[in-house]
């Protein structure tokens, strides 16, 4: 019995964004990474194109973080050196790209100067040849001092810089435009703010193919379904021709998953939740996997074991399927 399949015909697709720049392009990366370009829902190869596989980043901090032992054990030998840390993330653990988080700039922490932060960025750019994501410390005022210095230090490298929010996007947008970088536009689990922020950023003449959406994916068990549905709506909006939703999506999975109690409590305290190492890896990998199903293009992780699981999973999702 020949069953007539339902093939959705979408009018548009997700925009492609390219990160990094090779020597010919004015940078020093060994290659670039392009994300997006999808003309269907996640991994429905039978009715559209998924031209680029989603990519996996590992997070690197500029100061030794107060992470859980289960994470720190992977990085113990490199915690004091972001360059060595990045190199380990790429060479040993197979990260597609590095996400450098400038925690050291935090005024409540080490309060490092913009120049010190720029120096760390240079160090990481020397240590690895993959495209780089750089995220500020989260203090809006301080990030507005630090990120322009970072943008300048990375001029020509076509970085992905964050994080722009509705309350604080102008300085970062300007820095990205002057030095030709890409920007992460973050909205708090809200499709209207997501769209609005993309409009605001583009009104400053930022090209649309240099914006990446961060929809604030919650961790598994902590409201992930809200962002999941918003991401599905973002993708449907993009495919339906809404230009201000047609950006690739980045999800900050390692950070969120490690806020979950399920990643942090030992089996001795919660015997009925089972062994913590497996539970913690799966909490992070599952959070990332849900992100992929909802349309994520870049997944930022912390645990190399979670990266390994998602790497295999992505390979399988990228196998062509037939209707």
């Amino acid at each position: 019995m020949a069953v007539e399949r339902i093939m959705e015909r979408y009018t548009s697709r997700v925009r492609e964004v390219t990160l990094g720049a090779t020597a010919e392009q004015g940078g020093t990366r060994s290659h670039t990474i392009t994300v997006g370009g999808d003309s269907t829902l996640p991994f429905l190869h039978f009715e559209g194109e998924v031209p680029h596989r989603p990519v996996l980043a590992l997070e690197v901090n500029d100061v030794p973080p107060a992470w859980h032992q289960l994470l720190l054990e992977h990085y113990r030998d490199v915690l004091d050196d972001p360059g060595a840390w990045a190199a380990k993330a790429v060479r040993q653990f197979g990260a597609d790209l590095v996400c450098l988080r400038l925690v050291g700039a935090d005024p409540d922490g080490e309060n490092r100067s913009p120049e010190e932060c720029a120096q760390v960025v240079r160090r990481v750019l020397e240590a690895v040849k993959v495209p780089l994501i750089v995220i500020g410390c989260g203090d809006a005022d301080k990030d507005n001092e630090v990120m322009p210095a970072v943008a300048e230090a990375g001029a020509g490298e076509n970085l992905l810089l964050g994080i722009a929010t509705q309350e604080n996007y102008k300085t970062l947008t300007a820095a990205c435009m002057v030095h030709k970088h890409n920007i992460i536009a973050q909205s708090p689990i809200d499709i209207n703010i997501c769209k609005q922020l993309n409009i605001l950023i583009s009104e400053m003449n930022m090209p649309l193919d240099r914006i990446v959406i961060d929809p604030t994916l919650g961790a598994l068990g902590y409201g992930i379904e809200y962002t999941y549905s918003i991401m599905e709506r973002i993708r449907l909006g993009a495919l339906g021709g809404d230009s201000m939703l047609a950006m690739p999506v980045i999800v900050n999975v390692g950070y969120e998953a490690w806020r979950a109690k399920e990643a942090n409590v030992p089996e001795s305290e919660f015997p009925r939740w089972g062994d913590q190492p497996t539970r913690a890896v799966l909490w992070e990998a599952m959070t990332g996997a849900h992100g992929l199903q909802a349309g994520a293009h870049i997944v930022i992780l912390r645990n190399p074991d979670a990266l390994r699981l998602l790497r295999r999973h992505i390979e399988q999702l990228m196998v062509p399927n037939r209707a």
Partner: protein, 447 residues
């Protein structure tokens, strides 16, 4: 998906005899459309018209049940492709496979572990739905032995994975009162399998070689009159299963394609437990009604999958709420800080996680805001100084701490004065986002 009065009217005899109650066929059709009458009231309706009307009025995906008594598992009866369009109604059943080739001790151990896969997290109870018994050895005694052990060790539901009707029969007989799913009818065995399922009134899995073949097989079986079916397109690779389950769901809902109007079952194929859980995650969200795991069974592997199932089957229109009362985080003392927040579970659990992360024990007083977040509740007049003062009063927190300081979310700083006046508590304005709690509380309250 109901029919309109006119659509129904077209199928009626148009005698206008009034024997059904209302004076005309059209009036009767209107009553049928609004659910105020049933077809049986018309003595003249033809058999074809009756079938056409019943099938058109049936839901796009049939509701099928496994189990009996306290352990009924309802699957199917979904109406949308995206949860944001309405909701997903019937959480995917999760089964763990055990083969009859295991030695006795391993079999006992595994079944015991499965029978204990119940969890509690964030105030909710989770559990797996049962065990899938696979006839691996080909030995009828072994298979029956496995079923006997499973029946004793696992209180929930069963899938009988066996394509040989003779081998399956004793196991079906043993478990019949617990309404297992018999898996599966194929090209070779379908007539006997249908007979077996029908005799015991249990649901039957149907496994095709691909979508076309599945539709053909289902049609043959339904023409024989059996409709308690769970369908399987036969694919096992993640990417193809996703494609097939998507087509089945689309065809059932958008085209009301009857052969695919049944719940679905998916089997994982990954070689180890952790990658298998990630694979199963795809099927739970898109669009398997039952998922059978073959490797994972440890608590740390199952909890993440059950959590995902609960998340994705949460009704987007009905936010989960926590009970409005005082919650203790850590080893609280009478000088521990007191926070207030709303009863929207996402808000509450973010606050709880951060209080816990701060390593400074604290009390959280939850105000009933009907499941809305701080800003929404404030805007809607549900998180007012009066409401907070009353919650403080009712919660009895004053008896548990010797101080009178309450931390409110930074977003509602404007209520400080009024709240202080109404409650008599000193109001401390906390951070706007829960993520700011550890830094805030550490700088303010030495551990």
């Amino acid at each position: 998906m109901g029919l309109t009065g006119l659509e129904i009217y077209k199928q009626l005899p148009k005698k206008n005899c009034g024997e059904c109650g209302p004076p005309t066929c059209l009036a009767f059709a209107m009553q049928l459309a609004s659910g105020k009458a049933t077809l049986d009231a018309c003595p003249y309706i033809s058999q074809e018209a009756r079938e056409a009307l019943q099938s058109a009025a049936a839901p796009p995906i049939r509701l099928v049940t496994l189990g009996a008594g306290d352990h009924v598992l309802e699957i199917g009866d979904e109406t949308v492709l995206f949860r944001h369009d309405k909701t997903f109604y019937h959480p995917a059943g999760i089964f763990i496979e055990v083969g009859d080739d295991l030695d006795e001790a391993a079999m006992d151990e595994r079944l015991r572990a499965i029978g204990e896969l119940e969890f509690e997290r964030v105030g909710q109870q989770y559990r797996v739905d049962g065990v899938a018994l696979r006839a691996t050895s080909g030995d009828a005694d072994r298979f029956l032995r496995l079923a006997q052990k499973a029946a004793a060790a696992v209180p929930w539901n069963f899938v009988i994975v066996c394509q040989d009707p003779a081998l399956a029969e004793p196991v079906v007989r043993l478990l019949a009162s617990r309404r297992p799913l018999l898996y599966a009818a194929t090209d070779d065995n379908w007539e006997k399998m249908v007979q077996l399922a029908e005799e015991h009134q249990i649901p039957l899995g149907v496994c095709g070689r691909d979508l076309d073949h599945l539709a053909e097989l289902v049609t043959k079986i339904t023409q024989r009159g059996y409709r308690e079916l769970v369908i399987d397109p036969g694919s096992r690779e993640t990417s193809q299963v996703l494609a097939d389950l998507t087509q089945i769901r689309r065809l059932a809902i958008k085209k009301k394609f009857r052969p695919f109007g049944y719940p679905t079952i998916a089997f994982t194929s990954e070689p180890d437990a952790t990658t298998e859980i990630i694979q199963a995650q795809v099927y739970v969200g898109k669009y398997a009604s039952l998922v059978v795991l073959r490797q994972a069974w440890r608590r740390s592997e199952i909890l993440p999958l059950l959590t995902w199932r609960t998340n994705v089957f949460t009704d987007p229109q009905k936010p989960i709420q926590v009970e409005p009362r005082v919650y203790e985080v850590g080893d609280v003392r009478d000088d521990s800080p007191v926070y207030v927040t709303t009863n929207f579970s996402l808000t509450y659990f973010s606050v709880e996680a951060e209080v816990e992360a701060s390593k400074i024990p604290g009390y959280i007083v939850v105000v009933n805001t009907e499941g809305t977040s701080v800003l929404t509740a404030y805007a809607a007049g549900k998180f007012t100084p009066e409401a907070v003062a009353e919650a403080l009063q009712r919660s009895g927190i004053a008896d548990r701490v010797k101080h009178r300081e309450v931390i409110i979310p930074g977003h509602v700083a404007v209520m400080s004065g009024k709240l202080q006046e109404l409650s008599g508590w000193k109001v401390i304005v906390g951070p706007r986002e829960a993520a700011g709690i550890p830094a805030f509380v550490r700088s303010r309250y030495a551990a």
